[in-house]
């Protein structure tokens, strides 16, 4: 079987789920004939018609709010945001309406909000964001952010079948760069389960999305140059977070760093650090360290973007420091 890209894997998941369940439909800007800004939905409108693949006006609050309404009625909407940065225009809908609907009004919101996220592509401050931390703080939403093509497919299928609202972040740097052979059959990856991307014994790197690949590259270099054995944990789902997988790796290596692309202050790495402190303190031989973006809006120019975002060399430097600690 041939390998397909992360992007094609998402399209395959959408196609299979639309075929399986007539309640699944897609809506978003330019997703129809054009196939979406990144071509994730290419061909879907030709196949399923323009009532199941709906081009919307530029109105993120309307897209998310309407998806919620349809979801209340048993539909399974998949809303695309052209860039995840524009989720901010639907923030009120997501955090106030969607996230609270089941709790306060017994209204289910089985819907997916998906979109290209992340940097390393010279997209400047408004086409590179990683807004997951803003939603991690909102009970009622689920957050998925895959790093591999197989996970992109399996998690998308799980997200569509999930009975709650899943924010599905797709890393645009990975769209065409990573590939997998898809597992045969109905490939569904459970939401909430982390993955050991590489086994190791000296230092753990807990990460997700594009920085999984940076961590793997760093791990290979550390093995080669320093003989340090690095374990890499790919969280895959950020909310709910796989605390067991985190605890297991802490107990194994006793030295942990968290790597993410989003900025540091108030970020997800801080949350993970606190959880480790609370439950695994006795197992630590070193402080938990963070490798993240600097606390600035993401700049456009290559030397600036390279400096602000975490790089392999940063991960290597911190891992060496931890191993020596």
């Amino acid at each position: 079987m041939a390998e397909i890209t992360y992007l094609e894997a998402i399209r395959e998941a959408l196609t299979e789920e639309m075929e399986r369940d007539p309640n699944v439909f897609c809506l978003g800007e330019d997703i129809g004939a054009y196939g979406g800004a990144f071509k994730v939905t290419e061909g879907l409108q030709a196949r399923f018609g323009d009532t199941r693949v709906i081009d919307t006006p530029i109105a993120e609050a309307a897209i998310i709010g309407a998806a919620a309404g349809a979801a209340h009625m048993g539909m399974r909407p998949v809303a695309e945001l052209q860039f995840i940065d524009f989720i901010s225009c639907g923030y009120d809908m997501l955090t106030n309406y969607v996230a609270t609907a089941r709790y306060r009004a017994f209204l289910p919101c089985p819907m997916v909000v998906r979109g290209p996220s992340g940097g390393y592509v010279r997209g400047g401050p408004f086409h590179s964001q990683n807004p997951e931390a803003a939603f991690l703080h909102t009970p009622g939403l689920k957050i998925v952010y895959p790093a591999t093509a197989a996970d992109a497919k399996g998690l998308m299928k799980a997200a569509i079948r999930d009975d709650d609202c899943v924010l599905f972040f797709e890393h645009k740097y990975l769209y065409r760069r990573v590939k997998d052979v898809m597992p045969a059959g109905d490939h569904v990856v459970p939401i909430g389960k982390a993955r050991v991307a590489r086994e190791g014994t000296d230092v753990s790197i807990i990460t997700y999305a594009a920085t999984v690949w940076k961590a793997l590259e760093a791990a290979a270099q550390l093995e080669r140059e320093d003989g340090i054995s690095v374990e890499v944990i790919d969280l895959r789902t950020l909310l709910p977070m796989d605390d067991e997988a985190i605890a297991a790796t802490v107990r194994k290596t006793n030295r942990v760093m968290i790597v993410h692309e989003d900025t540091r202050t108030g970020g997800i790495a801080g949350e993970i650090t606190a959880r480790i402190n609370e439950t695994c303190f006795e197992w630590l031989d070193a402080p938990v360290l963070r490798v993240t973006a600097h606390d600035v809006p993401l700049p456009y120019s290559p030397p600036l973007e390279d400096y602000v975002l975490p790089q392999v060399s940063d991960i290597v430097a911190v891992a060496r420091h931890l191993a020596r600690y």
Binding site: I58, G124, F126, V308
Partner: protein
């Protein structure tokens, strides 16, 4: 004051191909008629600069010297240039991605634009922002963000400050046909209308929002109609006729200056290139862009007008074109020679105060975590 603009019938306009003033039904253009020949040549020069500079950017883009995407305004030069030309120097305008022409009118230079597109350290945003996302309040334009519609409330606030302080200044804000669908557009224009601030909103109806045709964006017959709902004045003009654009905008600006509140102007134009250079426009019906290129090019139309009505000679036009080319050549050389930004410069300018946090220790090349509070030499020494 009597509002002079006549609403145009889009169907009639599309069927009918005006090439010169002689062919166009004669409408009153009290403001455009007052322009001097010199001012009309300045309009031509700005339109030529817009087109030629974008052509240069395309060449640089193909050589991968442009970092990021390239967004053309081919076919919309009259809309951008004619409307901005209606402002006084003290007025403030907020451009969109297809308003490079408006920025040139407001005094942005080709060198700034080239450096910005090439992500250079001496670009107006020092490499932080891309394409024409930059502003300069002294010259009267505000840097936009990508989030469509967001500039409408912001510009309403600028206009509100003019009103509160009794300043004789006006705000002009551009919005695409697609972006009128956003919540921010509605909230901002409604607020401006209620406050009766001196604001002109130019809706550039260029037929498409990315791949989405206008009919999928709004069920309204025209954008001008929306003015009724906000309780403001609406107007419409042929966006490919630079003098008509100037006239309708100038009338709205004068109305705003005189305390007449907000005007919504719909300019009918056409986006002849894709959303950006990477977009092959597969969604556009065959022959459509070609029709506009052949029959309704704003530069060609204005040249015909200048020849017939102002007696402008080929030599005069060639001299302007040559001066524009020379300026672009010189600016390109300078921009190419410009340095890329220094990495640490990316950490400055977040707050008014110089930065307090040091770079993460592992970036600064410092060996231990303890030293993370030391600033590297030369960092944070100039204002952001």
């Amino acid at each position: 004051m009597e509002f002079p603009a006549q609403p145009l019938d889009l169907d009639a306009m599309l069927a009918f191909t005006p090439r010169s003033e002689r062919d166009v039904p004669r409408v009153a253009r009290p403001y455009a008629d007052q322009l001097t020949r010199e001012q009309r040549l300045a309009l031509y020069r700005h339109m030529r600069m817009t087109r030629s500079l974008e052509e240069r950017l395309v060449a640089l883009y193909r050589q991968t010297k442009v970092v990021g995407g390239l967004f053309r305004s081919l076919g919309q030069e009259a809309d951008a240039v004619g409307s901005a030309f209606a402002l006084e120097r003290r007025d403030i305008m907020s451009p969109l991605i297809r308003n490079m022409g408006s920025m040139l009118v407001k005094g942005a230079t080709p060198l700034e634009i080239l450096r910005q597109y090439m992500a250079k350290g001496d670009s107006p945003t020092r490499g932080r922002e891309l394409n024409i996302h930059f502003g300069d309040l002294d010259r009267g334009f505000v840097g936009q963000i990508s989030h469509l519609g967001d500039m409408i409330p912001v510009m309403a606030g600028i206009a509100l400050s003019f009103k509160l302080r009794g300043e004789d200044r006006v705000v002009l804000v551009y919005i695409g046909d697609g972006a009128t669908s956003t919540g921010a557009f509605h909230e901002g224009i409604n607020f401006a209308a209620v406050q009766k601030v001196p604001m002109v909103v130019v809706v550039e109806n260029n037929g498409y929002a990315y791949s989405t045709p206008t009919g999928r964006q709004t069920a309204a017959n025209s954008f001008m109609d929306k003015a009724v709902g906000y309780g403001i004045t609406g107007a419409q003009a042929d966006g490919n006729d630079v003098l008509a654009v100037y006239d309708v905008t100038r009338a709205a600006v004068e109305r705003a200056r005189a305390g007449g509140g907000v005007t919504l102007i719909e300019l009918i134009t056409y986006r002849r290139k894709g959303h950006a250079e990477h977009d092959n426009q597969s969604y556009v019906p065959d022959g459509e862009t070609e029709w506009w290129a052949a029959n309704n090019d704003p530069v060609d139309r204005f040249i015909a007008w200048l020849r017939e009505r102002d007696g402008v000679t080929d030599d005069e036009l060639a001299a302007i074109d040559a001066a524009v080319s020379a300026e672009i050549d010189a600016a390109t050389d300078l921009a190419e020679a410009s340095p890329m930004p220094e990495p640490l410069d990316g950490l400055e300018g977040i707050y008014a105060e110089p930065p307090r946090l040091a770079p993460h220790w592992y970036r600064a090349g410092v060996r231990t975590a303890v030293e993370q509070h030391e600033r590297p030499a030369g960092w944070g020494t100039h204002d952001g």
